[in-house]
Structures are given as C-alpha cells and as structure tokens.
Subunit: 469 residues, 2 copies
C-alpha cells in the first residue's frame, strides 16, 4: 500500500505555477526550484516515497511567511513548513505539490526570560543550539528527541524523547505560539502566563498539528533549571516484564526519575558489538536522576532497592560525568549499533505508546511477532511513558522485505491501539500513520476534520497529512 497517494486530493497545476511566479517576484534568489534541493525538502527518512515540493522559499521573518501564505491562499497552492528535515512519517512530502517554507534562516533566539523560565525563539532554532546559548544562565531546555531537530518542527509534531518522563513533551513545554493562519493573518495562541483558563487552548491545538492548521513563526517555550547533580545508572533484568515492573514501582513510588530507558537483549548485544562493551545480554534499564547531590543519591539508592526487589542484576550508578557517560554509552550509541547488526540496511522505527501496565505484554507480543516475521529489529523504549521503538533493519533494495516490514509496522500500530494506547507516541501521523487514525480515534476523526475545514477551508496547509480522506 502506498500511503503517500492522497485520496480525494488533486494537484492544482495552474495555481501552483502562478503562486511560484508571484513568490519568485517577491523573494528573488530566496526561492529555489533546483531539483536536488526540492528533493531534500521532501521526505527522505524512511521508505515513504520522496515527493518534492515545486519550490523552496527561505524565509527570514514572520512577514515573509505571511506574504507566502497570502500568495499561496490566493492561488490555492499547498504550503509545507520545513524545519530541518528530521521527521519520520512523511510530514514534509508534497503529494500534490506546493511550496516548502524553509526556516533555517529564522533561527534567532529572541529573548530569554530567566525569571519566568521561558525563552522566545524562531522556529528554525535547533535544540542543541538553544542549550548552547543557555549554558551560562543555569537553565536548559530538556526535551531531547534524539535527532538534531528544530524547535518549530518539534512543536509541530508534538515531539518528546528520553526525558519526557520527568519534563513532559512539547505539549507541556510550549507556552505560546505565533502562527500565520491559512488566511495570512498572524495570531498569538496565548499569553506568556504560566497557566490560563481563557478561551480555547489554541496552543495545544497547534502543537502536534504538523503544519496542517497554520505555520508556526515564533515559539515561547518553558525552560528548567540545570540540576545541581545528575546521576546515571544501569541495571540488567532477566525479562522485559521484570524491567517493566521496576519502572512501574519507580514511578508509583514517586521517584522523580529524569530518564528511564529500556534496551532489549538484542539491542544490548548490538551495543556490545558496536561499542566494545561487556554488558550482560539481557533486557537493560538505563536511568538518569536529576536533583541536589543528596537527592540524586537517595533516588539512585531507592531505585537500586526496587530493582533488586524486581529481580534485577548488578546495579551500577554514579554522579561522575565520565563514568556516567560510560554507563550510558550503550544508549547513546544505540542507533549506530543497531545499524551495525546488519550493515547496508536502513533503520525504520515504529512508535507504539501504551499504558505502562500493558507495556511488558506489548513488548513481548512484539518480540514474538518480530521472530515470526524473520526481521532483525532491536527494541529501545522510553519506558517511563510506555513508549517504545522497534528499529526494523530493512534492505532498501528488497521490496519483499519492505513489504514485510510495513506489514509488521501496521500490526505494531494496531497492537498499541488494541492495548489502549496510540500508534504514535512522539513521531506524529504525517502520511505514514494516516491509515490508523480511524482505528485509534473512531468518530473523533470527524471533528478533527471539521476543525481542519473550518480553519483551512482551501486545504492549502500541508494537505494529505494527519486527516484521512
């Protein structure tokens, strides 16, 4: 099944041509129609087909974006916002053509409000750039999706990552957005107040809407104090279930764990091979604790007791930065070590998220499915949130294998939904998961569509994403 073929959408050739002409006049050399650049601005990260936009415009201001939207609205030309290109579900593809808005030149950090623990910035800011900028303030932005993602893209896909268990996702950490709406008007979704009961929560509506309701042109996001001390820890478990039980007890006990990551035995084996480690090849939990010196010691020791009660093996923890990096090496190298299991293949990632009480069962069923399918696919999980990824190693040139992997990914989505969870914990819907929207949301999809039609009646904002036909 080619999920990237839009149902009920048609390309508006004339409108796109006229819009591109008008944009050329307005933006000159900041508009590019070169093929390789266009292809780079389509989807490139998984087996989803690359569908390049017709043109790429490099924007430098909110007004630039408003002008693009006004021109595109006039000519009914699709618009696809582009941060850095790290999305995984085809969010950047242009199935019926259109214009990609590239935010790489809108990457200014506008204002750090240290007293309010927030920062105002442009969508093209990369999260590592932000933390570099903040270094002397004693503050940091914790959300770490693993990739070098742009903050605009992270908001648009409701991204999260390893320390969402403590600090939340983009849902909890976006305070306010400036958005260019489909009619070209510029709005602010909320004030900078930490909380509000004033009207509909447009901020949360925009977060996760993947560019289908408007174009984010400025973000105000929450910052957190850099913890005085950080402890890293690692512990093997005889089974995934034992590891999950330890996670459940840790969270029930109220230990404010900052990261709690699961590697399955295959992933640990891959890490041993790639990173020259000698870890026991059993399911493994890696943890990070943030707080005062006394607090991280207390947290680590408490977790050690829980791990022992749950049948865990040798528990190691440290606050020494070098030692900590060594303990966490397996996790940091997980992606590359997984690739190393089968050189020449690509990793395609699933993204199930289930209630934590179902996590062990879900991972075990997944493991059996992988074995039956004959795929090679290690598992890494942000298990404090019930979220885990299967990294399916696929030979791009083998259509049969791609088909088997796609079928597996589909079962994986359905499994998560059946267990009371979601087909996507943090990657978003894009094109890749649209087929599961109805299964996951039932009739609620109709109200999402109603909202989309009300706000973007011409369907020019990233058409062919999220909402199934």
């Amino acid at each position: 099944m080619d999920v990237t073929l839009p149902v009920g959408l048609t390309r508006n050739d004339d409108g796109i041509t006229r819009a591109c002409e008008a944009l050329q006049t307005r933006f000159g050399e900041r508009l590019s129609r070169g093929q390789s650049l266009r292809e780079q601005h389509g989807h490139t990260m998984t087996w989803l087909k690359n569908q390049p936009p017709d043109a790429v415009v490099f924007v430098q201001s909110t007004q630039d974006v408003a002008d693009i939207v006004a021109i595109c609205a006039e000519h009914r030309c699709p618009i696809i916002p582009f941060g850095i290109g790290s999305s995984l579900e085809g969010q950047l593809n242009a199935p019926i053509g259109g214009v990609s808005i590239d935010f790489s030149q809108m990457n200014q950090i506008l204002k750090v409000h240290a007293e309010d623990l927030d920062v105002v910035l442009q969508p093209g800011v990369i999260r590592t750039q932000l933390n570099e900028h903040l270094r002397d303030t004693g503050l940091f932005f914790p959300i770490d999706p693993g990739a070098e993602a742009s903050l605009g893209g992270m908001a648009a896909t409701r991204a999260s990552g390893t320390n969402a268990v403590r600090y939340g996702t983009m849902r909890e950490n976006v305070i306010s957005l400036e958005v260019v709406m489909p009619d070209g008007r510029i709005i602010r979704t909320a004030s900078r107040a930490k909380k509000s009961s004033s009207g509909y929560d447009l901020t949360r509506l925009m977060v996760g809407s993947e560019g289908t309701l408007g174009v984010i042109t400025e973000l105000t996001i929450r910052l957190h104090g850099i913890p005085e001390a950080v402890a890293g820890a690692i512990c093997p478990f005889p089974t995934v279930e034992a590891a999950c039980n330890a996670v459940i007890m840790t969270i029930q006990y109220g230990i404010p764990v900052a990261r709690i990551e699961l590697l399955d035995a295959l992933q640990v084996k891959a890490c041993n091979l790639y990173s020259k480690l000698d870890l026991v090849e059993e399911p493994m939990l890696l943890l990070e604790f943030h707080g005062s010196e006394a607090s991280v010691k207390e947290q680590s020791e408490l977790f050690g007791e829980i791990a022992s009660d749950c049948g865990g093996g040798e528990f190691k923890w440290t606050t020494d930065p070098d030692e900590r990096a060594k303990l966490w090496k397996a996790r940091h190298d997980a992606y590359w070590s997984a690739s190393g299991l089968r050189p020449g293949t690509q990793i395609f990632s699933t993204d199930s998220c289930v209630p934590i009480s179902r996590l062990a069962e879900c991972v075990e069923e997944t493991r059996l499915d992988i074995e039956e399918t004959g795929l090679i696919a290690p598992i890494v999980g942000h298990v404090g949130d019930g979220n885990f990824h299967v990294g399916v190693l696929v030979d791009d040139n083998d259509p049969d294998e791609i088909e088997r992997a796609e079928a597996f990914a589909g079962r994986q989505s359905e499994r998560a939904i059946r267990m009371g969870g979601t087909c996507t914990g943090e990657h978003g819907i894009g094109q890749g998961k649209m087929a599961y929207m109805r299964k996951e949301h039932g009739d609620a999809v109709d109200y999402m569509r109603a909202i989309k039609q009300a706000i973007d009646p011409q369907n020019i904002m990233n058409p062919g994403k999220i909402i199934p036909a």
Copy 2:
C-alpha cells in the same frame, strides 16, 4: 454593563418547549421545572444576574446525555452542563434558556489504574470524594481549586489552585475524555497512553471549553503518589516585591515546591482577627514541600536561605501534621477571614495571572488601585504561577459599590493582559470575562469562533459563553 445580555442570540421559545416535552417523556421525574431548582442551576456565585434554565435533567449515564443532546439538537434547545455549581463567571447561566444537565447522579469512580497512575470516573465526582476513595492506594489527585468542585466542572473550566505550581492544572492532568458532541455522537478524545502525537489534541481543546463544544461524560485523569513526607512553612516579607523575589529564586533554583501562596498584609490582618493568630501583619508566603523526609528537610532549609537573602522575617517550618495545620491556618481560613473584615458583604474574586517577573509590579499597581477606589479587598495569590485573586468585599445591596467593584475588576483584567498575562488564570471566561477576550487574544478569537461554529453549528452548547459576538 450587563455582560449577561447576549448579543446576537435569541431565545427559541418553540424549540425549548418542544424539547422539554420530549425530555419529559424520556426522563419523567428526572426532569424538573421547579423554579427554585432552576434558579439553583443558574449562576449564584457573584453579582452576575441569575438566568435559570427552563428545566433540569438529572442524568445517570452517557446514554442519558446522548439522548438529551439528540433531542435538544433536533429542537435547537440550549444545553448547559452542571457539576456542582461552584463556577465563578456565570458559566451555568441560561441567557437564552435551555436545559441544565445535572451530573450529581453520575458520580461513580469507575476504575483506578494504580500501575498507570490514572483513574476513570464520571463528571459528577467531587474531588474530595475522589481522594477519600483513593486513600488506601497510596495515590492522590492533587488539584485543589479551593471549592468542593466536580471533576467534570474542573475539566470544563481548566481549573487549578494551590498546588498547580508542582502538579500542573487540569490541562496537564486530564488524559482523556468521553464527550457527547453537539450532534449526539459519543467520542473519546484520546487513548490512555501517557503521551501521544496522534492527531489534533481534542482533549486539550475540550479542557477549558466550558461546555461550549460538547458535554463531558467521563474523564480519565492522572494520579500522583502521596508523598512520604510533607513540610509546611511560613515566612513574612517586608514587601510584596521581596516575597515575589523569593518565589522567583525558589523556582529558578529548581526547588520542587508543592504550594507557594502569598497573602498580602490586609489578608494577614484579616486572618489574625478571624483565626486569633498573632502573625506579623506583612506580606506572607506559605509553602508546602512534598518528598521524602530528607528531601522536604532539604527543600525547607534551602527555601529558608533564599527567604533570608530576600529580606524575609522569621521562617518557620515543620513536618508535624498538627503544627503544619497551625502554620497553614491563615491560608485555610483566608476566605472566611476576609468576609470577616466587613460582615454582611460578599466576596467577588478577580483572577489575574501574569509572568512571574511582572507579579510584584502587578500586585503593587493593584494595591494602589484598590486604595484609590476605596474598596476593601485583600489579596491571595498562587504566586508560583503568577496567579492572584483580589477578594473584593461588596455590599450586594449597593449598586454604586457593585459598579465600582465591576470597574475595578475590569481594570484588573486589563492590567494582567497589559503585563503579558491573562484575565483568568483558573476561573474561566463564562459570561463575566467575555468582554476581555478580544483584548487578550486579538484575531485569535476569530479562529476560536470558527472552531465553535464547525463543531456546534446550531450553537446549542452553552450559548452566550466564552466567544464574544
């Protein structure tokens, strides 16, 4: 200005009559048209005029609600969901008549998922009832808006209260909702997964929508572990600014304070009179720390140092429950002690919320305004969030005084908006704050209206609230 007179809305007499007849047939004695019951189901909490519904139906199931909505949709009859009646901005009024849905008989706690730290319950559950039910599980629901509120109402108004600074508001603590939509269909807004990137965030759209987009019939909300230890603390400060500086430093330092409340000098005086205390009549911070024994000791001592650095007076803290209750007595009795300042009057509360960097300035400006206006109005604030309430003591029988109080409340809304905040941190818009929606949100109001029209094209869901004409 009578804000309860709806602009552009007209009463549909025939439709309401026909709907009530059909409902009478369907619900029999569970429908009531008695005047005093109807008046109790309109707004009763502030100077906003009571506008009773035409009938009250006591529901017992989601299907009851779906049937009501189907009947009312057929006859274009307004629907106003009613929890327990504690809202403050006229959310329960029926300006063009209609049917109040009373949830007091839908108050079952359906399922506690202790491993997942969530609970599924009906909208009529009262928060104290929930915590009573949870007592033996080691879990609790922290959000405490002060009133005996229903969970359905708290979700509908995006409520919070004293410990939002640590545990968040209803925005962060609602996982999923079952909602009867304006066309009578029943949807679930999300799965039980802790996080998700799947489609538009209908949960957050419903939270805070005050019954204008649908009727909440079931909630899944987050629970938290009861902390091993709780410390209470109190400290006077020479000025509000000094107290606010201590709050800012506390939060910047990352002390995970559970509550941090400000009383101004007048409120402290009121507490001394009412509760027979001998507190210094200066601005006062009251705090609560949650954690392990060691952690709450560390937090309390750290705060003590910060308070001292900021010019605070005598700092007291304790983990002993009786002593803690004594320290916090001033806060617990704040409402009644404020009334005691001027017996025979009612308290009408404002609800400003500003970035914490502007809090001291906002409180000081407010204090000057109160003095100029000649009102008696102590201040209590959830200052960790930048949220504070002015409790204006108003003689209900003095129209001139009501007018001055209303004018003051209006300036208070505008002041918060001007300082980058919101006119309502936790009470909602209802009828009382509609006039400030455009000032606070600008053109964003138009997209809220577009969403409202898309989802509720007949405008039968709590019409005349939130969205100005």
